[in-house]
Each structure stands twice: as C-alpha cells, then as structure tokens.
Symmetry: D2
Subunit: 349 residues, 4 copies
C-alpha cells in the first residue's frame, strides 16, 4: 500500500490537533505539512507538547494551491467562510480535499447564506461536494474529490434519527433534539464564554432555535424521509472537555414495540463498526466514547406519551470531527474504512 | 418576633446540611436538635467542617414524637418511605412538619404506590398535606400543619411551565422536559454512580421515561390546566456539584408573539421575588443561582416549528429543596416570605 | 451605628464581585458607587446576574478624588501599578482606602520595583500604609487611613507560619511553601491559560521561584522573626474555581512534641475567630472554607526527617481578598471585627 | 515474532482496564484471560463499555497456577497483600509475573511490614523480584521472572531525582516531595473520599508523612546515592481524573549553573524515549502526558535560597502503572522497549 501524503490546514485548533494524533499513528499515512496562521514558524510541539519526542514537524503558512501539488489529500480545519474562498477546481485537480468546516455541507446556497449571514464564495463547488457522513453516503464518498465533513452535533443527531426517519416510524414534524456538548466544541479561541471559572460548575443552553447545525440535520433527514423536515435543536454547554450527548424526542406514528424500533436500527446499522447499538435499557454516556470514533445509540419508548426517546453519544473531536475525516479519507483512498480508527478510547480520561 | 424552634431530621445529608446553613443564619430561628442515623453522637462539625467555630451542635437520634414536644417545626430530610411511617397526627398536634421527601407530595395513594413500588404508610395524612410550592400554593401553606416540600426537578419544571399551561398557550399533550442536574441531586450515599472518575468528564441520561418526579409535575400542571396532563421527563447527570437546568419543549396552540408569552409570565410572576424572568434573548445558567433561592426563567419561540422552548434554572439544594423548605416555614409562621433567603448566592462557586 | 458609605473601584473583577456580595449583605454598610472600566454604563446585574432582583446599581467610571468626597471608605480592586498612581494624600483626607492590589504592601520601594519591574508612583505613601493582615496588625489597622490588603497566597502562608517563626521553632533558612490555587486567583481576564480545556484536568506549577507574593511573605515573616528570611515559594494552578492550600515545609530546630507546636499556635490564635486550628491528624481541605472568611490550619511533625509540615487553607476571594478587606474595614470603623463575616460558607459548592 | 500470551489478574480496576487498553492494541500480544472477583462471569464490555465492538472477552475467576500454565506472562493488579500470598516459585516456573501491587517492591521484609502493617507472605521471593523501574534497572529486568512494578508517586519521584542524587548535586537530607495526584490513583472502590461532590472543587493533602510509597522512593534513591536517604513525601488529591505532578525541593550542595544540572539529566536520560527533559523555563503539566507513557521533567534553581526545584509529571495509570508494566514486558521478552507505547496521548482529554 502506497503511503498517503497528507496536509493539515489549521493544525493548531482542537480539530487540527486531533487530526495530527489520528494521522500520525495511521499506518498508511505521512503528514507532509501542518499549517497555522497564529503559530507559523514554531515547532508543533511548542503548541502541543504531547507530541514532544514524537514529531519534529514545524508549523508553516503556505497557499493551498502550493500544498496541493505535494500531497494526496488536504484536511482543512478552518473557521467557516475561509475554505470556500481558498478551495478551487485547480486545487481539486491536484489533491483531494476534506473540509472539516461548514462551507460545503449545505447543498443549497441560500440556506447557507441565511444561516451563516455571509455570501458563499464557491457556489460552483457545492454540487461536487459530497456530505461526508460515512455510514450514509459511503458510496459517493469513495469517488469524491471534495468531502464536506459533518459537524459534531450533526453527526450525533443524524445518525441517531436516520433509521426511524427512513422507516417512517415517527411524525416528521415532531422532532426535538436536546444536545449537550463539552467545551472543546467551542474551539481554542479565548473569550469569557470559555474562561474556566465561567464554564466550570455551570450548564447553559445557547443559540436556542438558531444554531447553524440545524439546517445540516434537516437537509440530511429530509433526504432520508423524502419529505421536508423542520426540527427544533437546542445545544448546551457542559462542563467537560469532550463529548456530545443528544437526547432526541419524537412522536411515534403508532403504537410500536421495542423490537419494532430495534429492527429499524439493526437494518441500517447492524453491520456498522463505528455505530454501537446498546442493549435494552442501556443508555449512552459520553465517557465511553472519549477518544474513539464510536457513536453509541439507544432508545426508549415512553409509552405513557407514545413518544420515542433516542440517545446518541460520541466524541465531538473524533467521530464528530477528525475521526470521521480520517474515515472519509480511508473511503476515498480505498483503504479499509476502520484503518487507524480501531482505538477503544481511554477511560477514565 | 418570637424565635421559632426548629429540628432537622437527617441533618447530615446534603439537603440537611443546607437546612443547617439556612436556618443557622435565619434571624428568627433557633436550631434545637439535629439528628443523624449514621453520625449520632458526633459533633456536627465532625461531618461538616465548615461549621467549625460556628456551631456546637451534636448529632442525636431521637423519636419524632419526642422531638415534636420541644420544637415548633420539624424539617424531615429522609429517604422516601420513612417519613410516612413516622409522622402521625399526634406529632402534628405538637409541631408543624415540613417534609423534604416524596411521601406526601402525591395526592393520590395509587399514583404514589405505582411510581415508588411500595405501600403508603399514612394515606390518612395525604388529604391534609399541602404541596409546598410556595408561589402556587401560598395561601394553603400559610395554614398547613404538614407541608410536602417539592422535589428539585419538580420545582424547576412546574414553575417554568405554570403560566403557559394556566393560560392555555401550549398543547397539553406536547410537553417534553429535558432536565440536567448536578451531582448533589444524587445525595451523599456512596456508589459507583457518584465515584468522581465515573461522573467527571461525562454526561448521561438516567431513569428515562420513569423518574419519580414525573407524577409530581403532572399532578400540579393538571390542576393548573384543569385537564389531565401526561408528559415526557428525562433527567441527566451533569459533572458539577449543584444546579438544575430544565429545557422544556411544547407545541404552541397558535402563532404567538414574544409579548404574548411574556404577558403570561408577568401575570403570574411579575411580583414574585424568587422568580426572575430574564429579558428577551437572555437565558438561564445554573451558575447565577448557585447558593440562592432564585429560579431563573426565560423562553424562546421557535417560529420555524411553532414550538415554545422554556428554560428554568435553580440551585437544587436551595429553591429545589432546603431554601424552599425555609420559604414554606416563613409562610407557615407568618414571617416575611423572604426572611433569611435574600442571599445573592456566590459566584464563581 | 451610622451606616458606612462605601465605593468599589473595579467592581467587575472576581475580587470586586466578592466585595459586592460581602458589602451588600453587611448590616452597617451602604454601597454608594461601583466602578468598572470595561462595563461602565451597564447595570451591575448585566455582568453578575446573581444580583438580579437584589441590586439596581449601575456601573460608573469616576475619578477617585470625586468618589472620595462622597463615601467613607474606598475599596480599590485594580491591577498593580494603577492604585499607586491614583491614590493621593488629598483622597486620604476625604476617605479611608483599602487597596486590594499589591502597590502598598511592600514597605521597601526597591523590593517593589525589583519584583514588579516598574517604578513605584507614590513612594511617599508607603510609610503610611498599613499591611492589612488583621490577626497580626490589628492595632495599627484600627487607626489607618490606607490599608494594603494582603495577597491570597500571602495570607495563607504568613498565617500558617507566623507562630512557629515567632516562637523560633524552625530553622529560618529552611522554609519551602508549596501552594495550590483555584483559577479565580488568575482573575477574570481572558487568555489561553484560563481556557476551560487548557485548565481542566490539569495541574501545573507556574512562576517558579519568581512569584510576586514571595517578598510579601518574606517581609512579614522577617518582622516576626526579627531576622532576615528568604524562602522558596511555588504556586500551582489547580482545576477548581476557588481555594488555596499551602503545604509548608521547614526544618525543626530541635526535637519537639505535637503539644510544643500546638502551644505556639494556641498562643497566637487561640482566641481568633477566623483562624481554625484543626485537631491532631485532621488536615485542611479547601472545600470547608469555600465562601467563608476562615483559614484552616494544621500541622504534622515528620519525625523521620525532623521536619515540620504545616497546612493552611482558605478561600482566595474571601480571607484571601475581599473578606479580609471587609475585616479591615470593620477594624478601621470600630465595628465588631466579625460583622458581616460570620458566614459558614456553602458546601458542597 | 511469536505472539506473547498474557493474562490480566484484576482486570476491572483502573490499572487493569489500562492494561487491557495497552495490551489489546500491542502488536505482539494476545490477551488470553482477564479475571475479576467482583465481575467474574460478565462480559468485559459490561464493565468497560468503551471495549464494546472491540473485545469479546469474558471475565473469569481462576487460580494463578492454572493461568500460569497457559500464558507467557501474568499481569497482577490486585490490592497489596494478595499477590504475595498467591505467587509461588511454581507459578514463576510456568510464566513470568509482573506485579503492579506493592508486595515485591521493598527489598527489606521489615520495611514492608512496618509500612504496610501486615506480615509478608513470600519473603523467599523478595531477593528474586526485580524493581521494575525500566530506565534504572533495565538490564536486570531483561532476565527477571518476577518484576515488581513501581508505584505511581514513586516513578515520578525517583525519575525526577535520580540524576541529581546520583551525581551528588544535592544535600541528601534535604529532599521534600510535594506530589499531586488525580483521583484514579485512589482506585475504583467506592467510599466518601471519592464521592464526586466531596472531591470536586477541593484539594487536600493526605497520609502526610506516612504514605507507603515513601520507603520505595527512599530505597531506590539510597541505592543511587550509595547512602541512606530519608525524605519527606506529601501526597495531595487533586480534582482531575489522571495525572501526577511532583514538585520536589532540595538544597544544592554548592552554587551551580543551569547547565550543571542539565548535564546530569542529559547524562542519564539523554537517550531515553519516555523521559522528556523540557527546555529551560518550560515546566511539566500533567495534561501533556495524559494517556501516554511519557514522564516530563524540568527543574529550576532558586538562587535566592540555593535550592533546586524539580518538577516531574506523568499519567499515573500509564507510566505510573500499566504503561510501565508493558514496558517491563517488552524488556523481559526482548521486544523493542517502546513497542505498543509510542502513543502521544490525547489532548484535551
């Protein structure tokens, strides 16, 4: 197997650092270049000292075009609005691109512009971009040049809901997603919201009914349902480093048994390695996914209210970002999908 | 003002310790006796060293009847099933009782027995007991001998929903409560669930569609609605010491404006000291209530889904337990309702 | 008792917020003005929402001189270097000043300039300023116009060591202080060091052999010893909001018994309300001091090494800052020293 | 390379779980049997759900002798006093043993019995057991049948001090070790000391001048010094899951430069992979070692006091327990010492 040459653009954010970890220990990959606007010129280990004695990489600042000439795939971990400015067809002719940001996730330019309050710079690439939710778009991803890696809340929410939406088991206008995230989800930028003393010993909701992951979830579930879905999504900031737990509520179309619902999940995920369907009356906890690429999913029927409660948990930096990006790379380069991602995570971490 | 003589039964649990704090610094109260099964015979400060140099109280073990002869009011902070065995009419003739446990909260004996899987020992007292949610049952509480102090999840949920249920603004069969609690809510008993390393850096749901605070919430909202309400309630364990945040979802009956909903809250809570209605697009965070008797409430209309999202936050050991118990005492003894409870809490704590 | 009119300069830092809490609930105090550079013009409750429904104060920006005309005492909670520029004899003629910063703590101008790497702006006030460690300088404080409130590490360290230094029980050149602080000690300013994810799940030492509280500790212990003391001081950042624990090591001059050492502590602190000497083989934990003005002190003789180990714990924002400032005010205005400071703190908080 | 067959005795404690993680992903190892007293009969993934979809192992309860017949090496992770009862020469004839407990660490039977207050059951094995601190006893370990894996505090302390003790740079009677540990160090057993609400937001010292890792540290440093060393060791419990930071103080024998000390560290550790000597004025933080087998070491000369301050940090469950056990195994079986241990750890975790 030929080694895949990779570049990480924005290697000093938390998603970038997690890419570094996953790609560094991936058996078929070499990391050719890591870039950072803030830390260009410094040793990588100056910023992330856990790589001391392991990596000698230096952070650089280089144009995407230049980089694309020397690598097979570019991982882009930049704030939204930037990737769409820099990625061009010329670059895609040179190297594949996996974008961890939001710019190519929404198929509809207007939806993007409404939610992100900014013009889209590369609408011509939207039709080419493949939404990189591996379990759902596996075949398209295999041949893609440009993959839009899904958001963390999004991955949890879509994977938790997909089988029951697809199998028409729930009322489509009844979906509510109440999601709880660790603080790495807010990134490494500094502001009062992530000050230790303001975040510790506190839980709060934010961007209520207005979070930008909402249209992503709606887009993918609407495709699954072959119908237009609108839903309520509420993110919460939880005092922990990593992890997302989504607690999802929907009205059942009719009386169903535990087995009816279980069949739907087994049908779509029975053979998926990274999706772990928990047994009856076992429920996900973020701690069991910390550091790994797994999503843990379970459900409970609230018979008194004829409602379905679905729970999904994952590590926002792995399956919710960089792990999934590597999973996409594996698919795009014909590797076994789980290569470099079989890790159990660490507990207690 | 005559000093009110008080007793705390179960003074070494977290609710008992919080009663100690609130009653000790209450200007019209003396604490005559504190009891503990586990620590009887020890100095109180041996168990809670923050009372060192402040209190010389010794923990005892004495019958409720005996205690009732020497005090004006007994605060009972015991596991469910015990208070109902020990409280009698004779005791109530001697002293008022505020029960922080679950035994007298549900009016319906069968509901209690269904949810708690145990026979009720004092069904004859159920009709006399007053549900001690002060903002809603203020007048009844003033003349009560036996007050059933509400649960922590319950207080948050009922107070958050009461105005919109009362004013018939939401579909009664559409209510979902997603609640997040700090670990003190699980009590001071030791087991793997509250081991630091199993709780830290983790969030999980528990007792999904089966938590015992559910029927309490339904009872009180059904009275408010004058209709039978069933709802979905999901509690979560959050890695922090104190605080409850309830995120509540319901379908709006019709299109409404922000002001329509605000009017409902103002109508019922406009003059309440302990209920703080936050301004538009300000949302509760548990940290602002830590150590105080306040409940912070806000709401947001999700216009895309015509759904109302209500958020309520409080300190589970204060307004969710011991603070409300003191508020009840104030009402029962004709004191100003806020006496001893004006505290701002501590931040960052 | 006439109400004492107070001003808080820098009311939106953590020490300022704690002054707000302590002065607001102080029975003999009114808060006339609160200032903030960053938030001038805003409601105080916009910044600290726990004061919602309690205080209507607005944050202002006004000159110290103007303020001094309208109040009895000014609490200054500003970064070092600023107070010494603004405080003048004219201001002190109008109002007493309690400075929570470092500018007037060191008697020696050169020592200040060496450690703080900046010129001192008011050396003429240094002789007048009284070091506000109440248990040690009580009498001088009573008549002072300008009190330099000690640092948090300093208070813990000096109070823990004072009796054994004064009684010449330890070798003066053998003192090592290993101190652990919560994150509020770093203030409310934002930078990567206080980012939740960089601070959580981590412990580190910082400013090793170079922290600016060192000369303060040395100054006060040298006075106590009537000899020149140099010591090693190492601060650590601990993942918690509040609290300082100092673990102090010193060589014993000769073989001593537990009782010998205990006698020294009893001699100086036997009647002190805010200093709690723990019993044999009980040791301080920061949690028992959280929210209160107490210092908990204990010691252990390491007989194998003939070394004394002293442990001191307090809440860095209370006895380590604002609580001690209020204690100083009580002394300066002839109030009972404990007024407004009898609080037990909150546990678990 | 032949696969090494391994057994983990006590696989459901935190050290056992970490062995599971490290051995499972080790390229030359198979895990043949995992045992647990408490969970015998259950799936391993019932206890540690992070191994769901990865391992099908079932927990058993079997005699060490039986197990020794079927494996090449047994990892024993049991409370002290048990291993010494069960390990025999017969077992050692069958399989190598790496004991993560304390029973074979102290060469001197009396020292063991004094500190552990229990009789030693296998004094005849003490002379055969090799102290498994790889960087120091590498050659002996290679041929050992029974390795006593060092304690977590011990590894941090000895490795931090070894070069300056060996090179006689410090006064041997002046050593003080102030160590801070995460809560996994206390194990998975339940009691009030590890209750979330009693541990969170708190720091405390414990077992002051009496912790059982003391004689281990003294034994190894005395060998290095070829002199009898007694030292003061104070462990602290820190509110985080993993990590040990040791802050070590000692008097310098004479005036030295930074380079003098650096030379000593370079001499002994310059080629060690797992020991990372940080650059001047960079200091260890536990977070950079989380999940990895590295020890980070740095020092600072306190010139004012002619004292050396050394800082060492590691992950107590990896280099402080299971990682070092695997490093020992690698040595004992002639593998490259770093095999299966090159991991960078995870940050932020």
């Amino acid at each position: 197997m030929k080694t895949i040459k990779t570049a990480i653009i924005g290697a000093t954010g938390y998603a970038g650092a997690e890419l570094m970890r996953l790609l560094y220990f991936h058996p078929n990959v070499s990391i050719e270049i890591v870039t950072s606007k803030t830390y260009a010129g410094e040793e990588y280990t100056n910023v992330y000292e856990n790589f001391n004695h392991i990596s000698n990489l230096k952070l650089k600042e280089e144009s995407l075009l230049e980089i694309s000439k020397n690598v097979d795939v570019i991982f882009v971990a930049l704030p939204h609005g930037i990737a769409s400015k820099e990625i061009t067809k010329e670059i895609l002719n040179n190297a594949k691109v996996i974008d961890l940001g939001a710019d190519f996730r929404l198929k509809n330019k207007e939806t993007y512009e409404n939610w992100y309050k900014t013009e889209h710079s590369s609408p011509n690439l939207l039709s080419e971009a493949v939404y990189g939710l591996c379990e759902i778009h596996r075949e398209e991803i295999k041949t893609a040049r440009l993959v839009a890696n899904p958001g963390c809340y999004t991955t949890t929410s879509i994977l938790s809901l997909y089988p029951v939406v697809k199998e028409k088991l729930i009322e489509l206008d009844s979906i509510t997603i109440d999601a709880k995230s660790g603080v790495t989800g807010a990134g490494r930028g500094v502001n009062l919201n992530v000050h230790y003393c303001e975040t510790n010993e506190n839980i709060k909701a934010y961007k209520i009914a207005s979070h930008r992951h909402t249209p992503e979830i709606e887009q993918e579930l609407s495709i699954a349902a072959n119908d237009d879905i609108k839903l309520t999504f509420t993110p919460h900031l939880t005092p922990m480093n990593r992890g997302i737990l989504a607690t999802i509520y929907a009205k059942l179309k009719q009386k169903v048994t535990y087995q009816d619902i279980k069949n739907a999940y087994d049908k779509y995920y029975g053979k998926e390695f990274f999706i772990r369907l928990l047994g009856q009356d076992k429920f996900p906890e973020t701690k069991w996914t910390k550091g790994s690429n797994f999503v843990d999913i379970a459900f409970k029927i609230d018979e008194r209210c004829n409602r379905l409660i679905i729970l999904g948990a994952l590590d926002n930096l792995v399956k919710g970002a960089s792990g999934q990006a590597v999973q996409n790379m594996n698919l795009m380069f014909g590797l076994k999908e789980t290569t470099g991602l079989e890790f159990s995570g660490i507990f207690p971490a």
